[in-house]
């Protein structure tokens, strides 16, 4: 298992290096942004002197390398600066929306994974049958729907009949009435259903298609033929051999997409008025809130990198061949 740990170590190191690179490139990216960075101070009535003072306060009057050093040091200690808009620490300001987004995204992804994987497997197994064709077409269709449009359609045609709320994360006044945790949880979940369903449906299409083709690849392998020769039943073959092998590429995909969904939730959050990280970043862009943006970028890239790392770890668990 020594080889294994060195693998994990190497992946961890790699993740770490990528994070460092991301930190640096984030700095560069935002330094490339044109315009007066203090314009985001939303202080159009302020005097130039005051703007200069603020620039000094944010360290913007120093040389770029100096700024970089300060930035790296601060980032390392978890200080991502203060939002230009609210003047509050970025990390805290980011955490609020992230906290809202994560459960919604998880719910949607879980839905997509469980359904997409099942359908993909069944579809590959029953290749060429009606079941297969139906799921391929529905997968293709869902995969092709513009996210925001699907969300709008859900509002149009599903929210009403199902009696589901179409915006926000919770009934704003429920907490005020203090009804206890159960109704609050139910309420939260109800608010999560539509956005999560949108994510779920979009991903579901993708997952179905990918699971299917990955499964088909596995089913074409010689060991499947061997397993058949050994007299195993189809179900045994799928369960014991095909599934695990076809899961390998899917795992990476799922983990990678988790990170992206977090950022990609913007569209869904916009439609459903869901105060999550996507919406927050979008707002920060229009407000030119560079500290927030830089922090948000870092958060997202780091989460993608970490997800990647997790995928590597899982891969390591699932695939004995991975040792170097």
């Amino acid at each position: 298992m020594r080889a294994g740990w060195s693998y994990v170590g190497r992946r961890a190191l790699f993740a770490l290096i990528t994070i460092l690179v991301a930190i640096s490139l984030n700095f560069v990216l935002f330094r490339l942004a044109p315009g007066d960075r203090t314009s985001a101070l939303r202080c159009q009535g302020c005097t130039q002197e005051f703007k200069a003072q603020v620039r000094a306060e944010f360290g913007l009057d120093r040389s770029v390398p100096e700024q970089y050093l300060v930035y790296v040091k601060e980032t390392a200690t978890g200080n991502l600066g203060r939002s230009f808009v609210t003047q509050q620490p970025v990390l805290a300001e980011l955490w609020k929306p992230v906290r809202n987004t994560i459960p919604m995204v998880l719910l949607g992804t879980l839905f997509a994974i469980s359904l997409g994987l099942t359908l993909g497997v069944v579809s590959a197994w029953r290749r060429g049958t009606i079941t297969d064709r139906t799921s391929v077409w529905s997968g293709l269709l869902l995969y092709s729907l513009p996210t925001q449009w699907l969300a709008l359609m859900l509002i149009f045609y599903a929210a009403g009949p199902l009696g589901l709320p179409t915006s926000d994360i919770a009934d704003p006044y429920l907490a005020y009435e203090n009804p206890g945790w159960w109704p609050e949880l139910v309420d939260r979940l109800q608010h999560m259903v539509l956005p999560a369903a949108t994510i779920g449906l979009v991903l579901f299409g993708e997952y179905t298609l990918i699971t299917r083709s990955s499964m088909l690849e596995a089913l074409g392998e010689d060991y499947i033929l061997t397993a058949r020769a050994k007299g195993l039943s189809n179900w045994q073959i799928v369960r014991r051999h095909a599934l695990r092998n076809s899961l390998l590429p899917i795992v990476t995909l799922i983990f990678l997409s988790l990170g992206f969904i977090l950022g990609g939730a913007i569209l869904i959050e916009t439609v459903f008025n869901y105060p999550g990280i996507g919406l927050q970043l979008y707002e920060s862009v229009t407000e030119r809130d560079y500290p927030m943006l830089q922090g948000g970028f870092l958060l997202l890239t780091v989460s993608v990198i970490l997800m990647n790392f997790l995928a590597d770890l899982l891969y390591f668990r699932l695939d004995p061949r991975v040792t170097e």
Binding site: L25, R126, P146, W149, S213, G220, G259, G264, I266, L267
Partner: protein, 316 residues
């Protein structure tokens, strides 16, 4: 026999189809791709002929705000009283142009980098892949919003952004393919003959990866259109170009939902979905066709059939 071998073993026996152009053969063998191609041709025609076949202009107010679908306006009117059907027809052009050129940028950039990286390998490869990694971990939609709002929103910028977001996928994919092709004996043979890198790339490597690049381009166009609608929806689209994405945005922004004006949102979304789906149908079919590993399945519900023995005399 491995699936590849099997596939190859079968080809010579069926080689008489070889004279027909491969595209035609491919479409014939894959109804999914054929349907996709047919849809795309229809939309391409619409895009080309748009100004002539649209009943009204893209700016022409022909009735009340959110006029309901009726005889002269089968898809109703939008938030400025403009005929939705006409808008759809006019928008096809922009949407398709953005899709194609965006994908083209991605393919050109990603393809070049992928080929260079995969073919030469070594340090250059390492360096290029690290850069790709960074772009790969950047959440694309967020990157795009930042760039769009910083650079300003014009069609050209949107196209560049799409290229910027998607070139990494392309680069990765092509690179891995080129790495495989590079090890092929016929490439080695050309090297042994003293052929220049350029010649090898152009004559041997590129033609080999081209079908895959094409299949990916098709899928990339779908992604690009997808992204265009997303950008537009977030209000970052080019205000001078009436794309389908902007139609959805307009409807959404101007409260078509609350108005109950489904016709302002459903048709453009459907149009996008159909076009994307057509591209996806074509692209995934091509991708599958190019993947020999999908040709064989050892586990199927159906099994071989029994049939009576052939008539011995007839066989003689």
């Amino acid at each position: 026999m491995s699936p590849q071998e099997l596939a190859e073993a079968i080809i010579p026996a069926t080689a008489d189809t070889r004279r027909r152009p491969p595209v035609w053969r491919f479409l014939k063998g894959h109804p999914q791709a054929a349907i996709g191609a047919a849809i795309l041709i229809v939309f391409a025609l619409i895009a080309i002929l748009g100004p002539w076949i649209a009943p009204y202009g893209p700016r022409e107010q022909v009735g009340p705000i959110f006029g309901t679908p009726s005889n002269p306006h089968p898809l109703g009117l939008d938030d400025a009283g403009i005929d939705i059907l006409s808008l759809l027809i006019h928008g096809a052009r922009i949407t398709l142009i953005v899709g194609f050129t965006g994908a083209l940028v991605a393919v050109l950039v990603g393809g070049t980098i992928g080929i260079i990286s995969g073919y030469f390998g070594g340090r250059l490869d390492n360096l290029l892949m690290r850069v790709t990694d960074y772009f790969l971990v950047l959440p694309d939609l967020v990157l795009l919003i930042v760039v769009a709002s910083i650079w300003g929103r014009s069609l050209r910028n949107i196209i560049i952004i799409i290229g910027l977001v998607y070139w990494t996928f392309m680069a990765r994919l092509i690179r891995s393919q080129v790495k495989v092709v590079r090890e092929r004996a016929y490439v080695k043979r050309a090297q042994a003959l003293g052929a220049s890198h350029l010649r090898i790339i152009l004559r041997h490597v590129l033609p080999q990866v081209l079908p895959l690049i094409l299949a990916q381009t098709v899928l990339m166009v779908a992604l690009a259109i997808f992204l265009e609608t997303a950008i537009s929806f977030l209000g970052l689209g080019d205000p001078n170009a009436p794309s389908w994405g902007r139609m959805i945005e307009n409807g959404f922004d101007r409260s078509a939902i609350s108005y109950g004006a489904w016709w302002a949102i459903v048709p453009p979304g459907l149009a996008v979905a159909i076009v994307i789906m057509a591209f996806n149908m074509l692209g995934t079919a091509a991708e599958d066709a190019l993947n020999p590993r999908l040709k064989v399945s050892h586990l199927l519900r159906r099994h071989f059939r029994m049939r009576p023995l052939p008539d011995k005399d007839a066989a003689r």
